[in-house]
Amino acid sequence: MTVLDTPAWRPRTDAAPLLPDPEPYRLLGTPDAARLDAALLRSLYGQLVRGRRYNQQATALTKQGRLAVYPSSTGQEAGEIAAALALRPQDWLFPSYRDTLAVVARGVDPVEALTLLRGDWHTGYDPRACRVAPLSTPLATQLPHAVGLAHAARLRGDDVAALAMVGDGGTSEGDFHEALNFAAVWQAPVVFLVQNNGFAISVPLAKQTAAPTLAHKAVGYGMPGRLVDGNDAAAMHEVLTAAMDRARSGGGPTLVEAVTYRIDAHTNADDATRYREDDEVAAWRTHDPVTLMECELTARGLLDDALRTGAADDAEAMAADLRERMHATPVLDPMDLFAHVYAEPTPQLREQRAQLQAELEAEHRS
């Protein structure tokens, strides 16, 4: 026995339990699905149908010039919805720019969720009121925010946990590393959900990482990594809920990798044919999150017309409402540009505000 047995360097954590399963965890279509509550399956189905419709509608709005851009989550609805459902009212969601569906599923008004992408302001909802952070465009930068907020809540003794979303590409950023490390060291009540769709815009996963799986990154921080079929809404719901419960009970952070695929291109502005094969898309269509759920419901004789039409009508209503409200052009006050830079505008900003005011009045007169 040498000094090497001193605590200074000694593993405090056993690696084995941190390692993810070799295959993505699945429930739908497996014997285990039997134990799933029918009501849960029905509500997940409704949410999936609604989510799919939301993506279609938002994409349509870009064609009509009502949105500056839309990064669709078509094909990823299971992850988006499971993330929202894993949260209690007091918990916080930290979405990436991709995740307006999760934000909407969390309960934020779709029009407010789309403000950033419509271009009338950077955030349309009150993050404190909704417990949803602003959509984060700089990749992975929202992850340390989630850690800090969860840590703060814990310091305050509040029963609040955070769930942060990021893509496979985002895992390469330094902020991903620093956030997971802080979370593990502080044992912050936070869950990191990586939606691995196999691409970062045009860059395939093989050029992004050489890791066995992204979930394996968890080991290096001393937190458990879970590998899940990201298109299996039931599996995602179960794993995320368990991870959040673990965080709440002081068990510390978890890294969840959801293996999925985005049927739509990176955004409406992107041309996916430049970097991926149609048959790859076709292959993934056979593993569609909505279809997977439908099969399960059918197998269990739960997919009656009531459920089907109920979900479809609900989705249509949401889409119609969104369409209509997004067609009204927002009324904006240019003076808002100066209103929120600081609590009190600086002398310089007051001057610039006056200048713009004068210009607008001149414009108006002429």
């Binding site: 500056a68 851009v69 720019y97 950033l116 992408l117 419509r118 271009g119 009338d120 302001w121 950077h122 465009t137 700089p138 990749l139 590409g169 985002g170 390469s172 950023e173 330094g174 902020d175 970062a200 815009i201 045009s202 860059v203 050029k207 992004q208 990482t209 430049r274 970097y275 927002p330 904006l332 240019p334 808002d336 540009l337 100066f338 830079v341 600086t346 310089q348 900003l349 610039q352 713009l356 210009e359 607008l360 001149a362 414009e363």
Partner: protein, 343 residues
């Protein structure tokens, strides 16, 4: 520099015909790759996709993945590995996808890229070109419209270059890649689709890095600008004729080195100057330009050098950006404040 901009080793290029700035940049990269095997392009989505602005379109297909490489998504890693590649003798050309996404690489840029030559008494120069699409006016959502030149021009060791014409886009990028110093190459993204009759066969017309261009002579006052604001200034100069003003326009092209001689000479001629740029005014490039001109030309000035710049606010959302960007009216209003009576 000039040799760098020559057609050396270039594959047969098309004759003079309308080309966009994006095409000229793409041609400059292609020609640089062909001319020098040490040149390597790397960045996010620069391969199969050809970059989100298609500036690297076709390069991987033509030169292979080792010469034009899709990297993992990590800007500090991209620039940091480029430093290592340059240490070994390569000439990396790095693409940052958008202005705001260069910030993660700030430490590598300031603490290493800018300092390695000085740190090693010249033993390790870093011939790295960092291409950054910058500025607004394209309806981009938050983080896609920053003008970050002031951060770079205040960092000794970096050259900061920004073209405003199709021809300069080609020539200055060739010159930047050929430079043995690190160059921050700022591409005015809203001019990517601007067109001009241009042929890469006349690169000799291209000035070396560090020379401003007088785009329009003028006797009444001088507009000093660069990059995305050049077309606006030229438009303003046109419009000013109605007011009986003969405005000259100077395109700096290079913020570092700064072509003091040319600018001072022009301003001494008019006695009045307005600096125009998109980035926030406070601590912006215009402050240095105004302060420097005033130091040099004080007794020739009929009025203080004024500035037209973006407001001191975070870049606005698409629907409000037009209020932020310096436009013809704001420029002319400012020219009107050049104390014509008192002068």
């Amino acid at each position: 520099m000039t040799t760098a901009a020559t057609a050396a080793g270039r594959t047969a290029a098309p004759a003079r015909k309308p080309a966009t700035m994006a095409q000229a940049l793409n041609q400059a990269l292609r020609d640089s790759l062909a001319a020098d095997p040490a040149v390597h392009v790397l960045g996010e989505d620069v391969g199969a996709l050809g970059g989100v602005f298609r500036i690297t379109d076709g390069l991987t297909q033509e030169f292979g993945e080792d010469r034009c490489t899709d990297t993992p998504l990590a800007e500090a890693g991209i620039l940091g590995t480029a430093v290592g590649m340059a240490m070994y003798g390569l000439r990396p050309v790095v693409e940052m996808q958008f202005d705001a996404f260069a910030y993660p690489a700030f430490e590598q840029l300031v603490s290493h890229v800018a300092r390695m030559r000085n740190r090693t008494r010249g033993a390790l120069p870093l011939p790295i070109t960092v291409r950054i699409p910058y500025g607004g006016g394209i309806g981009g959502v938050e983080h896609h419209s920053d003008s970050s030149e002031a951060y770079y021009l205040h960092t000794p060791g970096l050259h900061v270059v920004t073209p405003a014409t199709v021809e300069d886009a080609y020539g200055l990028l060739r010159a930047s890649i050929a430079s043995d110093d690190p160059v921050i190459f700022l591409e005015p993204k809203r001019l990517y689709w601007s067109k001009a009759d241009w042929s890469p066969q006349e690169p000799s017309e291209v000035a070396p890095i560090g020379r401003a261009a007088v785009r329009r002579p003028g006797r009444t006052a001088t507009l000093i600008t660069y990059g995305p604001s050049l077309p606006v200034c030229l438009e303003a100069a046109e419009a000013a004729e109605e007011e009986g003003w003969d405005l000259g326009v100077v395109d700096l092209r290079s913020l570092v080195p700064f072509d003091e001689e040319t600018v001072a000479a022009v301003v001494r001629g008019t006695g009045r100057a307005v600096v125009v740029h998109e980035s926030s005014g406070f601590g912006g490039a215009g402050a240095e330009i105004a302060a420097r001109i005033t130091e040099r030309c004080f007794h020739h000035l009929e009025a203080p050098v004024l500035r037209v710049a973006g407001f001191d606010i975070p870049y606005p959302p698409p629907m409000l950006e037009r209020h932020h960007l310096p436009g013809v009216d704001r420029i002319l209003d400012t020219v009107g404040r050049l104390q014509w009576e008192e002068g």
